[in-house]
Subunit: 315 residues, 2 copies
């Protein structure tokens, strides 16, 4: 008998990972395409379809649904809309195209929402009806769950906490506005802070690196050796994040906030310090109630499991 | 045959208004108690019970549920918790007490949430699944609706947008923190701004009034006569509100935002200006999509209808 699975697909600017995921969140089999190899979305989907059908037969699997996480993926429209990091321009009718080949239910949302559903269905948020999920990577993404449901908003674009104004007239953001949270509290923001502060400290090890070579890992290691500009970069990331979260909490009053992604690997330098700044700025009624927790889903499994969870959650 | 109604009750620090409300939101009959006449919640409820039973019989009505809006009312706990403006201190087990007398379903939430549900069930938000409701009175209250449901949060305390940090190290708020939205964008905030700016303009009519006598109405009339400090006070209220809303929108992506309460009566001075500041600060994906609308529910009917809507919504 064929085992029922869903196809979880994480479409990124460079890589697309997909996997056959069972209803317990186990990835039974996974594969990979270079997103950049495909000038059109049609050629991309056809190539994936051919491989998936082959793998399905070879492994006695039956796909009952497809979940897709993608930059600027829109749940309501079933589209990818104006994704700056993808070759496919404009509005791509993803769900329509994929469904026309596979003839099964297909769902799409953005990367952060997919990861949020992954945490809700397969991760540390299984018992939690009100939580916020924050991805601290190249940028800052987020998903918001209230009453046990992901909030998509009226247009499918809810959950852009990375673009909260963390400082008025602050750093220029890729979105064209100033002072967005992600210019301080992403890996990119951390690198910017380190670049700014290292100049005042000639003895800092960070001066051995150009901005291009200054990775989050290098700053983390320096901070662990008490390098001041590195510690300051983490402190700023945590302060801006903690203060923004203190405001976000007053909208949905979550029980927990989950951190995922590159910066979340810095553990105490992010978790403890952000908690400190958040608590210091919270309205009294919310104090000492909210847990800041790591995501249970690890590395690049999380995106596949998240996309799969989206499909399992709907079908 | 008896007509089925719910009892909608709005408990305030000074006045308690209640009414018999049918399922279309019509108030068939209303009455009033002075909240301050009752040193204990027990004596308050017993007095209301006696009157309600009498009115019910005299008017051939049958109460099938009770909805209560109260300061610091907690939906999950069925309590009023540490309300600074009420004589009843600590945690008051409201639902338990009221149900023990009436023997029908009883629900409580805070004033702003009750008004939000009123707008959703009986008002301008009937067709809208994602919206935010803002009360601009002595303070700033709010209710947040996503996916057609009011967000209570894990503890029943969601929706405190009035305590968003509108300015770091800004005006001292009654909550003990600094720069909260309600210190700028409530009627009280408007009066504070007018008091600050009138001093630099000796010709301003506002100098005829002490701070105690400076009402929102006086500032509104002065603004309409192009009095600079009065216009500036409205501009600050709108700027802080617009900027905070630009951030709040990125959490839940609402279709509409409703304004209710004293400051909302200033119409163009609040609606148009707040919309301007909000749009100017919105992330591109949200621009020109969100309506700022007046509440359909008027004056002190709104609180009774809101409390009644809470009960109708549940039973």
């Amino acid at each position: 008998m064929l085992k029922e699975v869903v196809l979880g697909m994480d479409i990124g600017g460079t890589n697309t990972d997909f996997g056959f995921v069972d209803e317990n969140g186990k990835i039974l089999l996974r594969s990979h395409h270079n997103t950049t190899d495909y000038p059109t979305f049609d050629s991309f989907v056809e190539s994936i379809y051919a491989e998936v059908v082959r793998l399905e037969k070879e492994n006695d699997l039956k796909i009952v649904g497809i979940g897709i996480g993608a930059p600027n993926g829109n749940y309501y429209n079933g589209t990818i809309e104006y994704a700056p990091n993808l070759k496919w321009k404009g509005i791509v009718p993803v769900v329509e195209k994929v469904r026309s080949l596979f003839n099964i239910p297909v769902f799409i949302t953005n990367d952060a929402n997919a990861a949020t559903i992954g945490e809700m269905i397969f991760g540390n948020a299984r018992e939690i009806k009100d939580f916020i999920y924050i991805t601290l990577g190249t940028g800052v993404g987020s998903g918001v769950v209230a009453n046990g449901q992901l909030i998509y908003g009226h247009d499918g674009f809810a959950g852009e906490i990375g673009h909260f104004t963390a400082e008025e007239n602050g750093r220029l953001c890729g979105c064209g506005r100033k002072g967005c949270l992600e210019t301080y509290s992403s890996v990119t923001g951390l690198r910017k802070s380190a670049e700014i502060y290292k100049k005042d400290f000639p003895n800092s090890i960070l001066n051995k690196y150009s901005f291009e070579n200054l990775t989050g890992k290098i700053i983390y290691d320096a901070a662990k050796n008490n390098d001041y500009p590195a510690l300051k970069a983490f402190d700023i990331a945590a302060e801006k994040l903690g203060k923004v979260l203190a405001n976000v909490v007053s909208v949905t009053s979550p029980k927990a906030i989950f951190f995922f992604g590159g910066l979340a690997n810095a553990k105490d330098l992010i978790f403890d310090q952000t908690k400190y700044y958040m608590e210091d700025n919270l309205l009294k009624v919310y104090k000492n109630k909210i847990d800041i927790l790591p995501s249970l889903l690890k590395g690049n499994e999380a995106a596949i499991k998240g996309a799969a969870a989206l499909a399992w959650n709907e079908i």
